[in-house]
């Protein structure tokens, strides 16, 4: 077990090094000058040059990379150009929004998708199944900002149950903070639930043809119990794969929802950092995202082993 873990960690480290080089090179090649962006139209050329020196942008490429990469090792991500604040603090605030939001959205999507998948699989080919899968189809294609705005006008403007947006911070009380994450999580959960539902259905249909389902029924278990106790767990592997992919996407791919609900999430920070050419922040966040994706994949692989004992032997 530990040998396997060690191997995965070494490979993860190599990947992170590869990612750091790639993102650093990309940021170097990207057009646009951070200093000019900060000083604006009226600043003179030499003022811009002065700022570039101050920010160390004119230092030789390799030196800057080593300095930045060295900092990463000691978890010192350096200071943001535009915010002039340590990147760690910036990112920590954003993670405090994006990670809970992603988890809630995933939980919602799973709670919706699994029962729909089970319902559809048990009525394969019949009316209920085609209806559910048709709805899932629409769920994928509906632009989620459209659905988000419907939610806002219904629950925030008309019913005033939840705030229209913004994030008061966990300091303002867990419930108040959670309340501001409910609508965005629902808006994110819809398309994900649609995709997850389809995958769960096809995985379940395959499992229902297996012999051990017949053995379970021969034991006298009603069909419903067989579905939930025996079939579902065997269909978890493809479902877990999709969940892993979705969690990685939900971390930083939700800029539209973050904008519509004006949430200080990771997605918006990356968007701002890229458009402001805040190199240090972009580079650090991409590294965090790569590390997150690697970690998520590791967790998904371990979850495979938890779900399916046959895979435990391999590790």
């Amino acid at each position: 077990m530990t040998a396997y873990l060690a191997k995965r960690l070494i490979i993860a480290a190599l990947t992170l090094v590869l990612a750091s080089m790639v993102v650093f090179a990309v940021m170097e090649v990207l057009p646009g000058d951070p200093a000019r962006l900060m000083l604006g139209l009226n600043a003179s050329a030499d003022q811009v040059e002065l700022l570039r020196n101050q920010m160390g942008l004119n230092a030789p490429l390799v030196l800057r990379y080593l300095h930045w990469a060295g900092g990463l090792l000691s978890l010192d991500f350096g200071r943001s150009y535009t915010y002039s604040v340590p990147v760690i603090d910036l990112v920590r605030e954003r993670i405090a929004v994006s990670v809970p939001l992603a988890l809630i959205a995933l939980a919602l999507s799973t709670i919706i998708a699994i029962p729909v998948g089970v319902f559809s699989a048990s009525r394969q080919g019949r009316a209920g199944d085609t209806l559910a899968m048709g709805a899932a189809q629409i769920g994928v294609a509906v632009p989620n900002f459209w659905f988000a705005l419907m939610l806002i006008y219904l629950f925030a403007v008309w019913l005033r149950l939840v705030p229209a947006g913004g994030f008061p911070g966990w300091g303002a009380g867990v419930w108040t903070a959670l309340k501001s994450l409910i609508l965005p999580a629902v808006a994110l959960a819809l398309p994900q639930a649609a995709i997850l539902g389809r995958v769960a259905r096809s995985a379940l249909i395959e499992v229902l043809n297996e012999d051990y389902i017949r053995t379970a029924r021969a034991k006298g278990l009603p069909y419903r119990a067989v579905l939930w106790r025996h079939a579902l767990r065997n269909a978890m592997i493809p479902v877990l794969t999709i969940l892993g992919l979705q969690f990685a996407f939900l971390l930083a791919g939700t800029i539209i929802i973050e904008n519509v609900f004006y949430l200080p999430g990771l997605g918006r920070l990356i968007f701002q950092a890229i458009t402001q050419r805040d190199l240090i922040v972009v580079e650090s966040i991409v590294m965090l995202l790569v590390a997150a994706v690697i970690l998520i994949n590791l967790l998904v692989d371990f979850s495979y082993a938890i779900v399916d004992p046959r895979l435990r032997g391999r590790q």
């Binding site: 590869l18 006008y153 800029i255 991409v286």
Partner: protein, 289 residues
């Protein structure tokens, strides 16, 4: 020795007979052809000229004059949906093509080789997957310049990791099967086995993933217009019509409803077509009455 591939060819008559018996294939085909026909017609004629702005009749509700109403520049939304079909479908389809073209072989190779190659490929996949889409979009604009064609490259790149992962998972399930052992006993190498046995058996899987990525591709094209990728005005695209509608949802909801419906119908059509094709290719499917 030239590489002769024995792909599962069907006699044309057999396929057609089976195809036209298949309900989802038929519906899917009709919808897809309808949309393609509309898009082609738009080269020749559209109810109104999409390039002309008529500020006077700005943001009008659907009426007999403008079936789908007008947008914030007074342009006829029906004409824009029709013309926009060309660009959105082309971008999304080719992008799915790129994603499949590069992603599937990578995934299949990773599954076939296993060991270090598999691990390396999957980790590179992780990096590409974690890379913010906007960053690669700007890179592409910087290198290849703006425009619709380069949006295809950008969205294509987003699709590669997804198809690689799906193809790898599918292939891993097929490799241990006994008929693969038989193929190895017939002296076939890894590449030939992948092409002749692995790919046909995961085709259905890829088709389903393809239709999902198609829908996401159309929506992604909207996000790219921020950095200049995707169709430039006056050429409309569904993605950008939604992008513009975003700020005028309350006063002119039809600006978002009709392009949104166009996307849903196209995706629905393609899905049914995909499911239909998957059924037809699957030799076990009886011809459904």
């Amino acid at each position: 020795m030239t590489m002769r591939i024995d792909l599962p060819e069907e006699t044309l008559a057999g396929v057609l007979a089976k195809a036209f018996g298949n309900r989802s294939f038929l519906i899917g085909l009709v919808i897809t052809l309808l949309i393609l026909a509309i898009a082609l017609v738009s080269f020749v004629w559209t109810p109104y000229d999409v390039t002309r702005l008529v500020i006077a009749d700005k943001a009008q509700a659907p009426s007999w004059a403008h079936w789908f109403g007008t947008d914030h520049f007074g342009r006829d939304i029906l004409s824009m949906v029709v013309v926009g079909a060309r660009n959105s479908i082309a971008v999304a389809l080719v992008a799915v093509g790129i994603g499949m073209g590069i992603g599937v072989p990578l995934g299949a190779l990773a599954a076939a080789r296993g060991g270090l190659a598999d691990e390396a490929l999957m980790r590179v996949n992780d990096v590409v997957f974690a890379f913010p889409a906007l960053l690669s979009a700007i890179m592409i604009t910087a290198i290849f310049g703006p425009g619709a064609v380069n949006a295809i490259i950008a969205i294509g790149i987003f699709n590669i990791p997804v198809f690689a992962r799906v193809a790898r998972a599918g292939a891993l399930a097929i490799w241990p099967r006994e008929f693969i052992l038989a193929a190895r006993a017939a002296g076939k190498g890894m590449t030939r086995i992948t092409v002749e046995h692995i790919l046909p058996n995961i085709a259905t899987l890829l088709l389903v993933q393809g239709t999902i990525q198609f829908a996401l591709g159309i929506l992604a094209e909207a996000g790219l217009s921020y950095v200049g990728l995707g169709a430039q005005p006056p050429m409309p695209s569904w993605g950008r019509m939604l992008f513009d509608a975003q700020t005028r949802m309350v006063i002119a909801p039809w600006m978002a409803i009709f392009p949104g419906m166009a996307i849903v119908i196209t995706v629905l059509g393609l899905n049914l077509l995909g499911d239909g094709i998957a059924d037809i290719l699957d030799p076990k499917s009886r011809r459904r009455r």
